[in-house]
């Protein structure tokens, strides 16, 4: 199998994923009607599709730890952002479970799901068992949404104020970097199942010889993905918070603008 052949054919049109995405669009239309936010929703769902139906998911399915990590990042940190951005700006989710929207819970669900799913036992289980794999994917989306809710909730008053949000994101970035560092430099294999993949698709030759991807390199890339690009996502979010902080609050207060000419 060649690389291009693999990328063309390895799409799995999983009916559950497709159905889920379709249902999400219909639900959105039912509740909020047609509005611009739906573009964000479609983008988010496209990212979910990339994570769960594309060749990436085929690679993550027992072949490459790094692909699994990319999938993890997309589901936890990218797709929820798009989904939250798609919501109407006046939506509030005041339910009985208000504790869910506490910043501590948000932080723990973002960072905790990262750490927990990379404990060797859970990591191996998610690859070898379909139901656990499904559970993992759904939980990542939910936990990711809870994490980002603190920063991107539709209503201003539901979000953390900018400087605490910087602390929130920075500490999450540090906690994930720690895990990334451990994965990158660990002399032991964290997710042992990727060591000897069950070669269902006949891909192993391509991966090991064509792409020169050894299990050691694979784990290193996985750790680095978690360490560097993930932190850049947090960093971009931090930057957005700083922009929010420095942007003038209301136009009414800017009536005193005067000429700023040189002396």
């Amino acid at each position: 199998m060649t690389t291009s052949h693999f990328f063309l054919t390895a799409w799995s049109w999983n009916p559950v994923v497709l159905g889920g995405c379709l249902a999400a669009i219909l639900l959105y239309l039912y509740f909020f009607g047609w509005q611009r936010g739906i573009l964000f929703l479609c983008l988010g769902l496209a990212i979910v599709m990339i994570a769960l139906a594309s060749p990436l998911s085929a690679l993550a399915d027992g072949y490459l730890f790094s692909a699994h990590m990319a999938q993890h990042i997309l589901l936890l940190l990218v797709a929820p952002v798009c989904i939250l951005l798609s919501l109407p700006r006046d939506l509030s989710l005041t339910t009985k479970a208000n504790w869910l929207f506490h910043s501590g819970i948000g932080w723990l669900s973002g960072v905790g799901s990262m750490w927990l799913w990379h404990a060797p036992t859970f990591c191996n289980a998610a690859v070898s068992s379909r139901p656990i794999y499904a559970l993992q994917s759904v939980s990542l989306l939910i936990f990711g949404s809870l994490f980002w809710w603190q920063v991107l909730a539709p209503r201003e008053q539901d979000r953390l104020s900018p400087l605490p949000a910087v602390g929130y994101l920075f500490s999450a970035c540090t906690a994930c970097s720690m895990l990334g560092i451990i994965l990158t430099f660990s002399p032991v294999r964290v997710c042992a199942i990727y060591m000897q993949p069950v070669d269902q698709l006949g891909l192993l030759g391509l991966i090991r010889d064509g792409w020169e991807m050894t299990p050691e390199k694979d784990q290193q890339i996985g750790g680095l993905l978690m360490w560097v690009p993930m932190c850049l996502i947090y960093l971009a979010a931090i930057f957005s918070q700083l922009v929010r902080w420095f942007s003038p609050p209301t136009p009414a207060l800017r009536t005193t603008i005067v000429s700023r000419n040189a002396l």
Binding site: M178, T184, S186, K217, V228, L242, L253, V258, R260, A262
Partner: protein
């Protein structure tokens, strides 16, 4: 225009009373202004020392095959030069400026913790003396300022120099952490009314952000240093490959500190440029928000990209790739800052006084410094040039071209405020031009020397084509720089004696430090102008053309409690320290080293005394609740129970240590022993400090101190510390005791 009315004789830093006992007045001072000046004077003394070392290096390298210095002496001198210039010159100079200027800029009376401030300062001369004492104790350290293991380990460096180096850096590191905590508490808690965080002058804002990098980076170095010291003194094996340790681990720890350290010095320089350039361009800074925000981004990025210092250690292609790209990203926020400063100058009415000249030169020299930095982010190029003078030229362009020039500009700028006298502009220009010529002569040519292949850290070189004239040129440049430094020192001395008095606001600047006398009275301000924007003095003088109000006009936000801020900042720094110890424990025990391992540990007993420690978190909280309800008795009772529980934990840990000793498990046995005792030992030390603090609190409680209003925050702040110590034990218990159960 506020060409202020002051033409009276200059005020004095010391009051007439103090003049009679001026030595004591300086030695015992807790005033931020005097401590700032002491910092700057200390930096100046060590600048002279480090400068002499630099001159010796340049004399040695002036001609090929030179025997002016013995090779070992050369190693000692370049080690001392690097260590001195970074830890004893640049950091104290920056801290001195911050100490002096920052409280004035936010309209505060002093730093948040004046005595901590004095303590942090006195650690600098103490550390400096400790470092230089090694010369008497058998030779200065000779392993470079980076002290790469295993060459810094006993088998390769048996003399005491390295031990003094470690001890000195630990002392200086602790002082820096103290200063950083103080800066954060000062900015958060002592801002005057109206000075919201969004109205902070950029110098203050950037140094506030910078204090967080200090808190994140210095403890990492401290953790590495104690590991190295334990290796050397107690025969542990952290960085000795023969004992199973990892020399690359030292590099990771050192550069996890060392890379942010560059920014710890560069960010204050950015702050200085952002302060001086607008004043001498007669325009507000272009893009305040970007300069302020990008400083945060730079600070965070700087913490995560240290691995680009280690491309040559063989991290593997993927790591090189990721870190190459991440390192290049820093160039974006930094590069745009250069545009901010230039855009500020465009269309302004520029005044080329010496502070501005130094700043313009700093910006111009920072551009090539940054560009050669980006070139080092490419692993392939880095492999070729890392060990050469190309790298020496690069970091001297940053450290001198940007940082020293900015500091010199800042000294010229704030000297009138500090002394009440104007430095001679004529001498200032002389020293500026000699410095620019000397600096560029010394270091531009070193880029080419490096590309020709001249290796760094070597005491001499053969007579190869072009080497000689290039090195001669470089050494002649050093003489120019020496002249510039001498003129600067002469200028300062002459000005202090005969200088012409300075007005309160000689540069027509806009920040609050210029709203008081020169030099300011001990209480700093008698009255402050209203603060509605980032340039209160501009608004005061030009009410018809005042700057737009920043944020909502009323500053209603309460200032946080400084005790709590102090402890939280301290905890932030401790996370770095314990983080390194825990990560190294994980790393060293990932592949079970031969000999004793976690199996020797007594888990049931440990769980019992751990339970006591965890329970003490609850009891300290009950104690706080009792105090809040004003029940003195209850507070004392709960505090006593907390002390008892903490003591049980320590006794339990002592018993465990005793059992392990009986079984023959020592620090020196194997990596498990080294990492186990270091990690749990430092945690135990923190418990002990907590116990001492609680005994003091108990004593205060018996003395009735807590009956006074507003004392509750003291106990709550301590509570944070105690919960943190417990939290660390949760991590230690998990990693050391529970994790091995999974693998059984």
């Amino acid at each position: 225009m506020n060409e202020a009315v002051t033409t009276v004789a200059p005020g004095d830093i010391l009051s007439p009373d103090e003049r009679s006992h001026y030595r004591l007045a300086w030695l015992s001072t807790v005033d931020h202004k005097r401590i700032g000046i002491l910092y700057l004077l200390t930096a100046l003394v060590f600048f002279v020392l480090g400068g002499i070392e630099a001159l010796l290096i340049r004399i040695q390298l002036a001609v090929p095959n030179n025997h002016f210095l013995h090779p070992d002496t050369y190693n000692q001198i370049y080690t001392m030069h690097g260590t001195t210039m970074i830890f004893l010159v640049a950091m104290p100079a920056v801290f001195g400026l911050i100490n002096y200027v920052l409280p004035l800029q936010i309209g505060a009376r002093d730093m948040a913790f004046p005595r901590l401030n004095a303590f942090s300062f006195w650690l600098v001369p103490f550390g400096g003396i400790l470092l230089h004492f090694s010369i008497l104790a058998g030779g200065a350290p000779n392993v470079g300022w980076y002290a790469y293991a295993p060459l810094s380990e006993t088998p390769y460096a048996s003399q005491a120099g390295v031990d003094y180096w470690v001890a000195a850096l630990l002392v200086l590191g602790i002082g820096s952490v103290g200063t950083a905590i103080n800066i954060i508490a000062t900015v958060l808690c002592l801002r005057t009314k109206g000075m919201t965080l969004r109205r902070l002058p950029l110098f203050t804002w950037i140094n506030f952000v910078n204090a967080f990098i200090v808190l994140a980076a210095l403890p990492v170095l401290n953790a590495g240093l104690v590991m190295l010291l334990i290796d050397r003194q107690l025969d542990a094996h952290f960085f000795v490959p023969t004992g199973g340790g990892s020399a690359v681990m030292w590099q990771h720890i050192f550069w996890a500190f060392g890379h942010p350290e560059v920014y710890i010095l560069a960010l204050p320089a950015f702050g200085i440029l952002s302060e001086i350039v607008p004043v001498f361009s007669r325009k507000p800074i272009f893009g305040y928000e970007f300069v302020a925000g990008s400083s945060v981004v730079i600070a965070i990025l700087s913490l995560g990209v240290w691995a680009h210092h280690m491309f040559t250690t063989g991290l593997g292609r993927p790591a090189d790739l990721f870190f190459g790209i991440a390192s290049m990203l820093i160039a974006i926020p930094t590069g745009v800052k250069v545009l901010n400063w230039t855009a500020t100058m465009v269309g302004g009415r520029l005044r080329f006084d010496s502070p501005m000249l130094f700043c313009i030169a700093a910006i111009m020299q920072f551009v090539p410094a940054g560009l050669t930095g980006v070139s080092h982010a490419m692993p392939a190029l880095d492999w070729q040039t890392k060990g050469s003078y190309y790298l020496v030229a690069h970091f001297h362009f940053v450290a001198v071209g940007l940082i020293v020039f900015a500091i010199l500009g800042a000294i010229q700028y704030w000297f009138p405020k500090m002394s009440g006298r104007m430095l001679s502009e004529r001498l200032g220009k002389w020293s500026f031009w000699l410095m620019v010529i000397g600096f560029n002569m010394t270091f531009i040519i070193q880029h080419f020397l490096g590309l020709l292949g001249m290796p760094r850290r070597v005491y001499t070189y053969p007579d190869l084509p072009h080497y000689t004239w290039m090195n001669v040129l470089s050494s002649v440049g050093a003489i120019f720089m020496t002249l510039a430094a001498l003129i600067l020192v002469y200028n300062i001395i002459v000005t202090l004696v005969w200088g012409k008095p300075a007005a309160d606001n000689p540069w027509n600047a806009w920040t609050l430090e210029w709203a008081t006398r020169s030099p300011p009275p001990p209480e700093n301000f008698h009255r402050l102008p209203p603060i509605l924007s980032r340039r209160p003095l501009w608004d005061l003088v030009n009410p018809d053309r005042a700057d737009p109000v920043v944020g909502s006009p009323n500053d209603v936000a309460a200032r946080p409690d400084k005790n709590k801020v102090n402890i939280l900042a301290f905890i932030f720094s401790e996370i770095g320290f314990f983080g390194i110890l825990i990560l190294s424990y994980l790393y060293y025990n990932a592949q079970r080293p031969p000999g004793p391992g976690p199996n020797e540990l007594n888990l049931p007993k440990t769980l019992i005394f751990s339970a006591c420690l965890f329970a003490s978190s609850f009891t300290i909280w009950r104690s706080e609740v009792a105090l809040r309800k004003q029940k003195q008795g209850g507070m004392i009772a709960w505090l006593t129970i907390t002390i008892v529980l903490g003591t049980i934990f320590i006794v339990g840990q002592g018993m465990e240590y005793f059992e392990l000793f009986e079984k023959g498990v020592r620090l020196s046995t194997n990596l498990f022993g080294s990492s186990f005792f270091t990690l749990t030992g430092f945690h135990g030390l923190h418990v002990c400090f907590g116990l001492i603090a609680m005994l003091i609190l108990l004593w205060l409680a018996f003395a009735g101190d807590f009956r006074k209003a507003g004392r509750a925050s003291l106990l709550e702040a301590f509570g944070y510390y105690w919960h943190f110590v417990d939290g660390v034990w949760v991590a230690v218990l998990t990693v050391v005791y529970l994790l091995p159960l999974l693998n059984r």
